[in-house]
């Protein structure tokens, strides 16, 4: 990768060893495995600039900077912008590379776009919280140079088919059988109530993150103008999630082992998240409505 790098590494040996440590705060280090996909792809593409949408507290900035990328960020929370700027300052990088902006409001991204676009856009934990997927994805598109790649994390709806809990109930009732007769829905609901843990995990009192279907989410990216859409599952679960605490370190190590699982389809059910990787065409031109 070209660009500029900080003196640090993307990850140190000690940090790498802590991936297996269940005592480390933050739980399963899922993003590490997402970043493996991203960094490999960016290295292949020879990318030099990266914009992280939803940069948050800037935890990924040292990783991508350490990999040699010129890193930038936006976030819609001013507090997070400040935290990320402190991370940049600690890295010896210009703090103005992180700014306030809302991925659903293209006007707020105008200043970021002024530089001419980035080789890659990364959005971890963003799409689960936006209101309008297409608007957000279209705005990410505009942040890219022609030929650039986007990497967007989604929470995986299909994972619900192996969790046997509230998410299973919701997926079957809302996604699979939403339009069958009331009698069928009622019987299905009753059946599920007897066979899955419909009260687990407890429904949050406030905003709940949205989940996406890996079999259909690509349509949103194609509608936004992207091509070569690829789904890359990550955050594997070596068994049903409720056994995670019981199995502890063994669960962690077996789940990490699965992050290299090569089938191409098991991850659609064993992973709680996936990345959508897609490319902005080199010769894309916006279709302007003629009004006819």
């Amino acid at each position: 990768m070209r660009g500029e790098s900080t003196p640090g590494e993307a990850i140190t040996q000690e940090e790498h060893a802590r991936l297996w440590d269940v005592e480390v705060e933050g739980g399963y280090p899922a993003n590490h495995f997402a970043f493996r996909h991203v960094l490999t792809a960016l290295a292949e593409e020879g990318a030099s600039t990266l914009m992280e949408v939803g940069v948050g507290g800037g935890r990924a900035l040292p990783i991508f900077s350490g990999a040699g990328l010129e890193v930038h960020g936006v976030d819609n929370d001013p507090g997070m912008v400040e935290r990320s700027r402190r991370v940049l300052a600690d890295l010896g990088l210009p703090t103005e590379r992180v700014t306030w902006g809302d991925v659903e409001d293209s006007v707020s991204l105008a200043g970021v776009r002024r530089g001419g676009g980035f080789d890659a856009v990364l959005a971890m934990g963003v799409l689960p919280h936006v209101t309008h997927d297409l608007v957000a994805v279209e705005n990410m598109f505009t942040l890219l140079k022609p030929g650039g790649s986007v990497f967007v994390e989604c929470r995986n709806k299909l994972f619900s088919l192996v969790t046997f809990n509230r998410f299973t109930y919701d997926f079957i009732m809302d996604d699979l059988l939403h339009d069958v007769s009331p009698a069928m829905r009622s019987a299905t609901s009753e059946f599920l109530g007897e066979h899955v843990d419909v009260d687990m995990p407890p429904r949050p009192t406030g905003h709940e993150a949205r989940y996406h279907n890996p079999l259909t989410v690509g349509e949103v990216f194609e509608a936004a103008g992207f091509e070569d859409v690829v789904i890359k599952p990550f955050d594997y679960h070596a068994t049903i999630p409720r056994f995670e605490k019981l199995l502890g370190a063994e669960f962690r190590s077996e789940s990490i082992a699965l992050e290299n699982e090569p089938s191409g389809w098991r991850g659609l059910f064993l992973c709680s998240a996936f990345l959508v990787q897609a490319r902005r065409p080199e010769d894309f031109s916006w279709k302007v409505a003629s009004g006819e």
Binding site: L161, L177, S181, M184, L215, I240, L246, L270
Partner: protein
């Protein structure tokens, strides 16, 4: 294949009933294959094909309907002598050439090659209800490829293993433990098995017994296929632009279907058959891979 041949020899005389539009509401068994054939005809029509070869054509009812509806050239073959005998009669009855249907074992490479050379490549090759009964998927898809021209279409039906993710029964347990969690430690799978034994109806489904004097469908080789893995097989043999088509929808769990009036349940099933979305992958017990030959 002798059991498979015996099964289809025995069921040949009633085979046409599953495609009879007048029996949609009266057939004891859900007429899934009627809706499958309707989808196949639509796909072939959309692709503008002018010639079709069918492997495993039964007594020719489907291929005859394809010709009647689309006016395309047809050729076909089947494993079962009784199916072929009745199929030739069926073709003649419809004013078509009985020689268009041939006896062929798809696992006999020499016979297969000779048949492909005899008929030449078609615009489309279809195999509905065949791959569940063959032992070597790669060999079978390679065989299909011999019957279709470059740029032509393949339609390959399969019993859908992914349906087990919906059924909450023995098949669910087998798929989760044997396929999805195949590579996790046994201790993990044992814990999951204990959990699933409580949640799932692991004693279902019972075996079907359609036939009295020949092996029942569940007693012959009748494999399920994982649509993702089968798509990989199809790609390996020179096809791309892969799509899925789904049929035999289930509007609720099969094990509670009996709670509903039979007509109401069938209406709900039929209402879903026009759905072309992704959800058929989980609501349908069967599907088709549609692909283009490079």
């Amino acid at each position: 294949m002798s059991d498979v041949r015996a099964h289809y020899d025995e069921s040949a005389s009633s085979y046409h009933e599953q495609y009879d539009p007048d029996l949609i509401w009266r057939n004891a068994e859900y007429p899934a294959n009627f809706f499958r054939l309707e989808k196949v005809i639509r796909i072939l029509e959309d692709r503008g094909v002018s010639s079709v070869y069918e492997l495993g054509a039964g007594e020719a009812s489907p291929i005859i309907r394809i010709r009647e509806r689309l006016g395309v050239d047809i050729r076909a073959s089947d494993l079962s002598p009784e199916m072929v005998r009745l199929g030739k009669e069926n073709l003649a009855r419809h004013g078509m050439d009985p020689e268009w249907l041939t006896l062929l074992d798809v696992e006999d490479d020499a016979a297969l090659g000779a048949e492909a050379a005899r008929v030449g490549p078609s615009d489309a090759v279809i195999a509905l209800g065949v791959i569940p009964h063959v032992r070597d998927d790669d060999a079978f898809v390679a065989a299909m490829a011999q019957f279709v021209r470059p740029g032509g279409s393949l339609i390959l039906q399969f019993r859908n293993a992914m349906f087990s993710m919906f059924t909450f029964n023995r098949l669910t347990k087998e798929f989760i433990l044997g396929e999805i969690m195949a590579s996790v430690p046994k201790t993990f799978r044992d814990a999951v098995e204990e959990d699933l034994d409580v949640r799932l109806a692991v004693d279902k489904p019972p075996k079907r017994e359609w036939d009295k004097d020949a092996p029942a469908y569940d007693e012959i080789l009748a494999r399920f296929h994982n649509p993702f893995e089968l798509a990989d097989v199809v790609r390996r043999h020179g096809f791309d632009s892969i799509e899925y088509g789904w049929y035999n929808f289930h509007p609720t769990y099969p094990m509670i279907a009996g709670r509903f009036d039979a007509k109401e349940y069938r209406e709900a099933q039929i209402a879903l058959e026009s759905d072309d979305s992704w959800r058929g992958m989980f609501l349908c017990s069967a599907g088709m891979i549609i692909a283009r030959k490079l």
